[in-house]
């Protein structure tokens, strides 16, 4: 056994390394998405730092909805840099990988023209694409700097209720009993753009209120937008707006 032990250990190590190699290259591996050996189906192919979840995806369902046409003639032309950012966002939407690190590294500190471009893009997205719309509300809501920024979120709050996740214009069939047990998730998604808008308005208000020299007019404008949400057909967003207004005592 003594003589055989080094052989056993060596064989075990070799097998382990072979297993790791296959793990890196097989589709069902958690590392598949970050493996530089694998050609991504979509994505810019940017290298990711270790420990970051990759922006590549193996999802074959990567085609963007035919109705989701990016506006080719925006009222304000995008700069090359803004167009690059817009393309990144489209890639993220196509892969459905919400945790793409570029959401934070590239799609923040947006220029005024990029904000305008995103607002226009928002309106081209079908109403049923609630995560896409909500993501844009999230990105635009990260930094509310002007009255226009707030007005956009206010317009999101005043949108008609999406009547069902399959087709916002058609009422959902009723469900009951066990079937209704995950309707909470569905209803939150149905209100997702509005809930993201309320979250952004609330966060911005709290930031402003902690600053003595804050823009009071901007704070009032935020409160007005939240008050409008109280009249929303969407009970979920009306309730959320009420909670926020109660918390800020306005």
């Amino acid at each position: 056994m003594k003589k055989k032990t080094p052989w056993l250990l060596t064989a075990g190590l070799v097998l382990f390394l072979v297993g790791v190699y296959y793990s890196l290259t097989r589709e069902n591996s958690v590392f598949h998405a970050v493996n530089p050996l694998v050609t991504p189906i979509t994505g810019s192919g940017e290298a990711t730092s270790s420990g970051q979840i990759s922006n590549t995806a193996t999802n074959t369902n990567t085609s963007v909805n035919a109705n989701t046409s990016v506006q080719t003639n925006p009222s304000v032309p995008l700069s090359p840099e803004d167009q690059r950012k817009m393309n990144i966002l489209k890639e993220i939407f196509a892969t459905k990988q919400d945790n793409d690190p570029r959401m934070d590294t590239e799609l923040s500190n947006l220029s005024p023209s990029m904000k305008k471009g995103l607002q226009e893009f928002y309106h081209t997205i079908p109403a049923e694409k609630l995560n896409q719309r909500g993501t844009i509300a999230f990105l635009l809501g990260r930094k509310l700097e002007t009255v226009d920024d707030v007005d956009f979120l206010k317009s999101v709050l005043m949108e008609k209720l999406c009547l069902s996740l399959a087709d916002c214009s058609k009422p959902a069939a009723p469900s009951s009993g066990e079937e209704s047990h995950l309707d909470g998730i569905n209803e939150t998604t149905a209100a997702y753009p509005q809930l993201m808008a309320i979250r952004s308005l609330s966060t911005q208000y709290q930031e402003l209120s902690s600053n003595e020299s804050a823009n009071k007019a901007m704070m009032d404008h935020i409160v007005d937008a939240l008050h409008e949400a109280l009249h929303s057909q969407n009970a979920r967003s009306a309730l959320e707006a009420e909670k926020v207004l109660r918390a800020i005592k306005r």
């Binding site: 069902n28 934070d104 995560n131 959902a172 066990e178 079937e179």
Partner: protein, 229 residues
Amino acid sequence: MRKTQAIWFLFFIAQLSFASTHIHLQFDSEVEAPLRAQILDDLKFMGQVQGTQATPLHQKVFGPVSGASYLQFFQNRVFNVGKSLCGDDHAVACVLSLWDNYIFITPNYTKFDHPQMARLSVIYHEARHTEKNQGNWPHASCPKPFLDQRGQNIVSIWTGAMLAGESACDATAFGSYGVQTILLKNMAEHCTNCNEKVKADSELFGSDQLNRIIDTQSRAQLEKDFAQK
């Protein structure tokens, strides 16, 4: 005997290298490639999560906030993925009582544009329902009346149907809603390689599911757990 031991030792070493990084799921042939790819992509994301802390209840249910913990939780419960309409136009996933360690995915998993964390929380909710030794963690009937924070009846925003009396609540912190909430709240607070959107989504959907915990003590237990930062 020694040869047999040696062979088993080598086999074990080989399996270790696969097991830690491999998602082991059997898909029924009806599960189309795009649906399969989406589930695998979503689970791969979960498998790569990193965190530095976890609340006590998260430690109890999942262990640390880590991809390995999340994959282990899921794969200890779900061995097979099938496709079904789940008897509901809105359903994304379900479990069926006669099918052990199976979850069924509907086409809505990719058709509906849920945020990724919402999709994932649903399949983790369903994974909890596969635990036969816990009676599949059945839901409790929502109380009558079932009121929101404004004191109004909680109803479907689409149909107006009341949730009161429906089997759509939990009276324990450890059922499917509780586990879903624990997962989401810990992702929101302790995931160190999640972007801001994913953390915001986790917080949003986690708070939503907390509303289905109707037992006062269980709810207090969860709220106390999430307050530990």
